[in-house]
């Protein structure tokens, strides 16, 4: 019974992730491609060696390629967030399915994306040094793992403090502890690469804002959609929110 529920939730979660990533894709195409193209124009104007034949053309990269990456990312995030939801349901307090889904998505956006990129922000093409890709990948991954672990630690701390402090104060205490430890970790970790000399600051900011937007659309749409689906599955109520009407 429980196992079947988990399987159904996973299917729904990946579908919700896919649907959310379609919205994120629209946002990425409309808002994100401009700054990407501006960065590539800067790159081409400033590179001495010209590559010549591209492996994948720009028009494919910015459409089918962009879609593949974002949709696969959405499905994967949907699956992982659903597993986190299955664990969190009924274990983080008395939240129903819809609220648990919203909280899981919010935690995912903060811990997997927003906190890590405060230290290692998204970079447009040409802003990173190809020789340091190994180091940058490890640091970014480390930042994500750290942020997720500290988030879980803060949750446990909050649950411990709650009986004595009350839910509100316990949440504030856990949140402050999380911010303090994350800030300390950020000052200790090495800085990311600086963009190349002359790279337009406005393009950099627009690109980073677009990246935040893509992830925000993805996670919030996922949280709302999946919450709606999970509530219907887990808390079926025949006439939920519906006013009975006579058939005409």
């Amino acid at each position: 019974m429980n196992s079947v529920t988990v399987r159904t939730l996973l299917v729904l979660g990946m579908l919700a992730g896919l649907a959310a990533s379609v919205l994120a894709l629209v946002f990425a195409y409309l808002v994100g491609e401009g700054p990407v193209n501006a960065a590539i124009a800067f790159e081409e104007a400033n590179s001495h060696e010209h590559g010549g034949e591209e492996l994948v053309s720009r028009s494919l990269q910015s459409t089918a390629g962009l879609a593949t990456g974002i949709l696969v990312f959405g499905i994967a995030i949907g699956g992982i967030a659903t597993l986190a939801f299955c664990f969190a349901l009924g274990r983080i307090g008395q939240f129903g399915a819809r609220a648990t889904a919203a909280l899981t998505a919010l935690a995912g956006f903060l811990l997997v994306y927003l906190v890590p990129i405060l230290k290692y922000p998204a970079n447009p093409p040409a802003a990173g040094n190809p020789d340091t890709i190994g180091e940058r990948t490890i640091l970014f991954l480390l930042m994500i793992v750290l942020s997720v672990l500290l988030g879980i630690a803060a949750l446990l701390l909050g649950r411990r403090l709650a009986p004595a402090w009350g839910n509100w104060n316990a949440s504030i205490g856990a949140g402050v502890a999380f911010v303090a430890v994350v800030a300390m970790a950020m000052t200790v970790l090495p800085s990311g690469d600086a963009p190349p000399k002359g790279f337009p600051a406005a393009d950099l900011w627009e690109f980073r804002l677009a990246s935040i937007g893509v992830q925000a659309v993805l996670w919030s749409a996922f949280g709302l959609l999946f919450g709606f689906m999970a509530e219907r599955l887990l808390e079926p109520r025949p006439a939920r929110g519906r006013v009975p009407t006579l058939a005409a």
């Binding site: 196992s3 994100g32 390629g65 995030i77 992982i80 664990f87 677009a210 990246s211």
Partner: protein, 70 residues
């Protein structure tokens, strides 16, 4: 049945059993992480497929999703 729709705070939310969750979490957890790896890092820091086709194909998504690229 005769459940009141106005009292969701009084009913307790039953957690899903960890024993039912564990096999799904292991299998799908790994599968989803593999997908994330191909979108986010393949043919960057490391590569399991030769060449640069995967990297080039998901290139714009990789940048916009915040992964380190070039």
């Amino acid at each position: 049945m005769a459940q009141s729709t106005a009292a969701p705070t009084t009913q307790t939310v039953t957690p899903l059993s960890l024993r039912a969750l564990a096999p799904w979490a292991v299998f799908f957890g790994v599968l989803m992480l593999v997908l994330l790896y191909f979108v986010g890092a393949e043919q960057g820091a490391t590569a399991v497929i030769a060449g640069g086709g995967v990297h080039k194909w998901v290139h714009d998504a990789r940048h916009l999703l915040g992964f380190p690229c070039h």
